[in-house]
């Protein structure tokens, strides 16, 4: 993995952007987030999996849009004025993900993270960095970089 991981001080608290997918709350490393935008209908790309909605023009750059709700098999995926796209800046790649809403930016000390138990899930268990507890709520922390570069995501040409 990249420099990022090495440079991170493991003892320092990290900041996470949290968002909702249906009833679940997820968190991703805030440093991977470039910006947050409203949803606009993308241009469909043929032969793409259903959760890849297509590509949009982000100030001159062509950016693929992934609907996390479809990827994680959420019950419904509606597109309204509240639907939000988080633009991620992963290593050399820019990707947008569609979520129901963005909730917060929060700081979590490493001790607030619990290892995720082995569970049957649509999410590759390696992509879950851990679970954070926020009082009553549970936060699923995603290794978004790993998730997005996984082959089943269909974002990267095979062999790359």
């Amino acid at each position: 993995m990249g420099m990022m991981e090495k440079m991170d001080d493991l003892t320092a608290a990290r900041e996470y952007l949290t968002f909702r997918l249906d009833q679940e709350e997820y968190g991703i490393d805030i440093l991977k987030v470039q910006e947050i935008r409203g949803y606009e209908p993308p241009t469909r790309v043929a032969n793409a999996p259903n959760f890849i909605k297509g590509v949009v023009n982000l100030r001159g750059t062509i950016v693929p849009i992934v609907d996390m709700r479809l990827k994680f098999n959420c019950a419904k995926a509606e597109y309204d004025s509240f639907t939000v796209v988080i633009i991620l800046n992963l290593r050399h790649r820019i990707v947008g993900i569609v979520v129901d809403s963005v909730s917060d930016v929060m700081e979590l000390p490493p001790e607030a993270l619990k290892a995720a138990p082995d569970i049957e899930s649509v999410i590759d268990s390696g992509a879950v960095m851990g679970l954070g507890s926020l009082g009553e709520r549970m936060l699923i922390l995603l290794d978004i970089e790993r998730l997005m570069s996984a082959p089943d995501m269909g974002l990267v040409s095979s062999g790359e």
Binding site: P42, G60, T61, I62, R93
Partner: protein, 716 residues
């Protein structure tokens, strides 16, 4: 589609090569810098093949360019360097420190020779004969001659120009005596003048033998009258006495002149010092000229012992000349990072989209009430359009810029080789990204040169083979299936399979007689591979194809070779469109818009349902005039969802790619427009049948079809 432009070799002399000089100087500079870095990092005991090849290629490129533009001195020197380097990379010689020294010196010498050509300096150049001899000696395997101790010359050129820096032409050292004054402090205001007025000069208070007098040492470019005019603000004219300072040695003067002030010398108030700024810039600001003033290292070997003062004087004089002549070309162009231009292009694209949105929303406004607003919007429309065009044009340049380099080169080359060659160019108007043009020029030069040197036969041989006496080299460029294809064709003798295989075996390469033609042709891309019988200064060292392949691979491009022995050879360089403007035709399929490269569109027409016939497993063919063509339904290929069942695909567009034609079925033709090709793969994966994407006027993304892939698809 592409216009053909006939340009026989004899008319090549009309073309003004000087417009390309700048590009060459920049390239050569970069190559020499690169070579120097590699030489300095070269590990003598365990010299890396890659590095040796790299150094060799640098020398080769400089030589090639210098020969093209007729800089014989540079070409000769670099040719010698190349010979030495060639032996090194073949491991016929072991690199040693003396060689590195000589090569470094030669690089310096080449640089200063180039600088002389660049500034148009016509004074006699420093002789390179000694260097050439030393290189030849080393290349022959002899020990370095003892006379030329390498350490001294390296230091000399660096040291020499430096002391010249602060000495400003037109500066005078004066002693100014002010008094008698009732209040001597009054005179301090004069000292303040020098502090406040930039460019006036410097002042120092000297000790005075009388209390009511003040004495200053002044260093200025201004005239006495100007100084007096200034001083009379503070003291009476009669109380000022200006006289030249006692002759001083240069050393203290250097110490006094403030470098930062020196830059402004000759600014208002210093009319007579017009030469000053040039000299300052040349010596202080632009290290660029440091090598220029005819202080080539070789020459200085013996000079290094002469008194410093003399070297100083000489350097100063030449620097001035070089600076004044160089001023013009420098102002003509600026080099800007491509990323900045890209950013500009993106921002302008956004601006255009915003403008389109404003125009859309203002359409409903009542012109009577909002007249001013609407006039403003119309201006905005025009200005953004102009702006977009100008910004785009920064990056895009027509291939003719590259192509027109060649007629002259070919003419000289053909003359030298005793061959007769016609040069034909096609598709000169094809626009190509500036970045690509810069990088494609070198490989193309190699290819064209190879064609002339190895491909085209001697007139007598051609006649004997039943061919016209004059050979033809064709250079063509076209947009094809989302790539730019540049071809170099000749009707010469082509590649010889046996010769290549024989050579490969001699070199111990892993080959067999059963290899396919394509694989055999591929062998010529190996470093150092050449089938030429004689190594000339033109080609034959086998470096060309190696460089070509590398440079093009670095651009994500491919090189294909086609050859028929006795009939000629074709080298096709295919480059991806990273950023190119393309004429596109937008077509509608369902609710979606796709872009077809206009260059591949042949015609379009309404389908008559009985014109389509089915063959075998549902493949459809349509008869267009006398030709049957496969039909591709874009709706199926791109799985376009259809909501409006009243519409259907009943328009056929005939496209041509890779020499075959197919018919695409679309719903409607939406129009033609210039589109900026965007890379889809920078953030996403490769999409079949799509070569890229573009942004439409409304800010939406449209995919550009890869007609080449569609044509290939129909073949299977």
């Amino acid at each position: 589609m592409s216009e053909t432009h006939q340009d026989s070799g004899s008319s090549g002399g009309d073309i003004d090569l000087s417009q390309f000089y700048q590009i060459f100087f920049e390239e050569a500079g970069e190559n020499l810098d690169l070579m120097e870095t590699m030489l300095l990092n070269l590990n003598l005991e365990t010299a890396d093949d890659e590095v040796l090849n790299g150094i060799f290629r640098c020398a080769h490129s400089v030589k090639g360019g210098a020969a093209t533009f007729g800089f014989a001195d540079v070409a000769e020197l670099t040719h010698k360097m190349e010979s030495l380097l060639d032996r090194l990379r073949r491991h016929e010689l072991q690199p040693n420190a003396a060689m590195v020294d000589v090569l470094l010196e030669s690089a310096d010498a080449s640089r200063s020779l180039l600088a002389r050509h660049q500034t148009g300096d016509t004074s006699p150049a420093a002789p390179t004969g000694d260097l050439v001899m030393r290189i030849a000696d080393l290349a022959a395997g002899n020990a370095p001659p003892v006379v030329a101790k390498p350490a001294a010359p390296v230091a000399a050129p660096v040291v020499a120009p430096k002391p010249a820096a602060p000495v400003v032409a037109g500066q005078r050292q004066l002693e100014i005596k002010v008094g008698p004054l009732a209040k001597p402090e009054q005179a301090d205001a004069i000292a303040e003048l020098f502090r406040d007025i930039p460019g006036l000069g410097t002042i120092q208070v000297l000790s005075s033998d009388r209390k009511d007098f003040r004495v200053f040492a002044v260093d200025t470019a201004s005239t006495d009258d100007d100084l007096l005019d200034l001083f009379t603000f503070h003291v009476a004219r009669e109380q000022i006495e200006i006289r030249p300072a006692a002759v001083m040695s240069p050393a203290p003067a250097v110490a006094v002149v403030d470098a930062s002030h020196g830059f402004f010398d000759g600014a208002p108030g210093a009319p007579e010092s017009s030469a000053a700024p040039a000299a300052v810039e040349a010596s202080a600001g632009f290290g660029f000229f440091d090598g220029a003033p005819g202080a080539p290292s070789v020459h200085e070997v013996s000079v290094a012992v002469t008194p410093v003062v003399e070297v100083l004087g000489a350097t100063k004089a030449v620097t001035k000349a070089a600076a004044s002549q160089a001023a013009q070309p420098e102002a003509a162009t600026i080099r800007v990072a491509i990323s900045k231009v890209d950013q500009l292009i993106n921002l302008v694209g956004e601006l255009v989209i915003t403008q389109a949105m404003l125009a859309q929303n203002s359409r409903a406004l009542d012109p009577a009430i909002y007249q001013q607003l609407l006039t403003g919007l119309a201006d905005l429309d025009r200005n953004t359009r102009d702006l977009q065009e100008s910004v785009m044009s920064i990056r895009m340049i027509p291939m003719s810029i590259v192509f027109s380099r060649f007629p002259r080169m070919l003419r000289d080359l053909a003359g030298k080789l005793g061959k007769k060659v016609d040069f034909v160019t096609q598709g000169e108007a094809t626009e190509l990204d500036k970045g690509l043009v810069e990088k494609i020029t070198d490989p193309l030069t190699h290819l064209v040169r190879n064609s002339c040197d190895h491909g085209i036969e001697m007139p007598a041989d051609r006649l004997a083979a039943g061919k016209p006496e004059t050979g033809t080299i064709t250079l063509s460029a076209s947009h094809q299936g989302g790539s730019i294809v540049i071809e170099v064709r000749d009707d010469g003798k082509g590649l010889s399979r046996e010769k290549i295989l024989k050579k490969a075996k001699e070199r111990g390469m892993d080959v067999s007689d059963q290899m396919s033609d394509a694989d055999v042709w591929g062998l010529i891309f190996a470093p150092g591979f050449s089938t030429a019988d004689v190594v000339t200064d033109v080609s034959g060292r086998g470096v060309g194809m190696d460089v070509v392949k590398r440079n093009i691979a670095a651009l994500n491009g491919t090189v294909e070779i086609d050859s028929a022995e006795g009939f000629g050879m074709r080298v096709a360089v295919r480059l991806p469109l990273t950023l190119a403007i393309m004429d596109g035709m937008s077509v509608g399929v369902g609710d979606e818009v796709y872009i077809l490269p206009l260059s591949s569109v042949v015609e379009s027409f309404q389908v008559k349902s009985d014109a389509v016939s089915t063959v075998g497993q549902g493949s459809q063919l349509v008869k267009v005039r006398d030709e049957y063509m496969p039909v591709i339904e874009l709706e199926k290929v791109f799985q376009v969802p259809r909501f409006d069942f009243d519409k259907n695909s009943d328009i056929m567009v005939v496209v041509e790619a890779d020499g075959s034609r197919v018919v695409l079925l679309v719903d409607e033709l939406l129009g033609q427009q210039q589109v900026v090709v965007k890379n889809l793969e920078s953030n996403y994966r490769k999409v079949p049948n799509v070569s890229g994407a573009t942004i439409l006027g409304d800010g939406k993304v449209a995919l550009i079809l890869d007609t080449g892939a569609l044509v290939r698809r129909s073949r299977h």
